[in-house]
């Protein structure tokens, strides 16, 4: 359902067409924003709209779409007791601005999104894998990474076994 409340109006007045779409799903507000302006919009969310707590940052892969990744930020405002979800679309090989300067939490969350999807966050202070070994090849939460896939060379070399399956 399209969303057009005061919050969206304020966002649109400030950022114009950098706010691409706005809708609600299961009564939860979702804003799609321009990827390049993500960190600028994040600062506005934190300082002017009091969404001071970054709950979660993650991604969703839609390989058939032109821009395959959704970068999803779940925000919460202690003052308003309200949640807001920001989304930005990123294509294969496109980097997304880091929000580590806005919320410190984003550090590990962006590393995880990089680890699992291969999305590069520009401006991140030390972007490297977090859950998988540093030398691992491939990004497991991509849809084209089959559930039985593994980095066989890594497993053989480091674990000394033929297969981890």
């Amino acid at each position: 359902m399209a969303l057009d409340n005061d919050l969206v109006k304020r966002f649109k007045a400030r950022f114009g067409d950098k706010i691409r779409e706005a809708w609600t799903d299961r009564k939860q507000a979702i804003l799609v924003v321009d990827r390049e302006s993500l960190s600028e919009i994040a600062v506005y969310c934190r300082d002017d709209e009091s969404f001071d707590y970054l709950v979660d940052l993650t991604a969703v892969d839609w390989p058939k779409r032109e821009k395959r990744f959704d970068v999803v930020l779940n925000l919460y405002s202690f003052k308003k007791n309200e949640r807001l979800r920001l989304k930005a679309y990123a294509g294969e090989g496109e980097s997304c601005p880091s929000v580590t300067g806005v919320w410190s939490t984003a550090n590990w969350l962006e590393r995880e999104a990089y680890d699992m999807f291969g999305i590069v966050f520009e401006g991140h202070p030390g972007l490297k894998r977090i859950l998988l070994p540093d030398e691992w090849q491939g990004h497991p939460l991509r849809k084209d990474y089959d559930i039985l896939t593994q980095d066989t060379a890594w497993v053989r070399e480091n674990l000394g076994i033929e297969s981890g399956q």
Binding site: Q28, I30, R85
Partner: protein, 380 residues
């Protein structure tokens, strides 16, 4: 001359060590890291100059598995994240899927869920207290805590047959109704437990060694806690009065009276006090809920085959460790398109580097304990 340059700290390809500095690996096999956590410490004498957490030793790809199971089949997997609070994980997952479906569990199921989840919170806090105290050198509380935790696990076992990975709830309600004597047993436990918390407090709250080891250790200010995304007792210990059970009530929490305990200084001692008070409050919720479990069905109207409409939902609960959230995307099929789990332990652990800087090695043990992490949830 030996090369003193070591690689691996964030922001620098190679770190040049000072004359008195050494690098120590704590973990992954170390009893006080509560699992397979590895912390790389750069020390000047016994003081921590810099540190880095290395995680992922227990990574099982839970989120990937979810995309290849039906909604019901994935239920048991969530128990294996925070395996000392499996009931809470299950509650969050079931409610998130119910929200996605637009279904609701009947009132009786909600009340039973609330009681079991609060018992689980007590048992999780008891395990935290026992291990945290033993890490710092107080041996006795562990025996006391495990004694009461056992009572709770026995209630779970009688209810659903399992003690740890319970899979107690189902999407839409409950699989099992309460057993005969459930109310009496929970009530007997709760009436007794109030005095037990007094006992633990007698051992620790005014204990000089305990105070010396915890006061002023690992201070996290309220502003830092919010910036770092810390939740649960870690956030409340820093003085932020926020609890999802009050802010956005779920299950049957809006029916019961309880307080949100908070700390003042954001140190290890305050987080200890907050968790002790939380156990009392959970006990209070159980006592209120057990008095009046409404009659009626335990399973709501959800089909045998779950096909949530296309769309997405984020739902979170106040797990014993903090905000446990599920972000589920549905493409209209029987399997979720994406399940993202927002793990409280993972994000609370992120604050560790900041909290241990300048402290002694022995304090690292206290601070890891006070964060109350479970590596099964950190690594998923």
């Amino acid at each position: 001359m030996a090369d003193t340059r070591i690689s691996g700290f964030p922001g620098a390809e190679q770190t040049v060590l000072g004359a008195d500095e050494i690098i120590i690996n704590m973990g992954p096999q170390h009893p006080s890291t509560h699992g397979v956590l590895r912390v790389k410490l750069r020390l000047d004498g016994e003081r921590i100059v810099d540190s880095e957490c290395i995680i992922g030793y227990l990574h099982r790809g839970v989120e990937k598995i979810a995309e290849h199971r039906s909604y019901q089949q994935f239920g048991p997997y969530v128990d294996r994240m925070d395996y000392v609070a499996a009931v809470s994980n299950g509650l969050g997952y079931c409610e998130a899927v119910e929200k996605l479906l637009g279904a609701e569990a009947p009132m009786r199921a909600k009340v039973v869920r609330t009681i079991l989840t609060e018992l689980q919170r007590i048992s999780s806090h008891l395990l935290w207290l026992g291990t945290h105290a033993i890490d710092i050198g107080a041996l006795t509380p562990l025996f006391y805590c495990l004694r009461e935790r056992e009572e709770i696990l026995k209630i779970f076992e009688k209810y659903c047959g399992a003690r740890l990975t319970t899979h107690a709830f189902r999407i839409g309600g409950l699989q099992y109704d309460t057993y005969d004597g459930f109310e009496q047993e929970v009530k007997r436990f709760c009436l007794d437990f109030v005095h037990r918390v007094d006992e633990y407090e007698q051992l620790l709250t005014e204990n000089r060694i305990w105070i010396a080891r915890t006061k002023g250790v690992g201070v996290l200010t309220a502003a830092d806690a919010i910036d770092m995304g810390a939740t649960g007792p870690v956030l409340r210990g820093s003085g932020v009065k926020w609890d999802i059970r009050k802010a956005m009530p779920y299950a049957a929490y809006d029916k019961y009276d309880f307080e949100i305990p908070i700390g003042k200084n954001g140190d290890t001692y305050d987080r200890y006090v907050v968790r002790m008070q939380e156990m009392r409050q959970s006990n209070r919720i159980c006592l209120q809920a057990i008095e009046d479990i409404p009659a009626g069905p335990i399973m709501g109207k959800v089909g045998k085959v779950l096909k949530p409409p296309v769309g997405e939902v984020y739902h979170s609960i106040e797990a014993p460790k903090g905000e446990l959230g599920y972000y589920i995307v549905s493409d209209g099929t029987t399997q979720p398109y994406r399940v993202r789990i927002r793990p409280p332990s993972f994000i609370n652990l992120e604050a560790l580097d900041k909290m241990i800087k300048g402290h002694l090695v022995a304090d690292v043990v206290a601070i890891i304990g006070t964060l109350d992490i479970v590596l099964g949830e950190v690594d998923r």
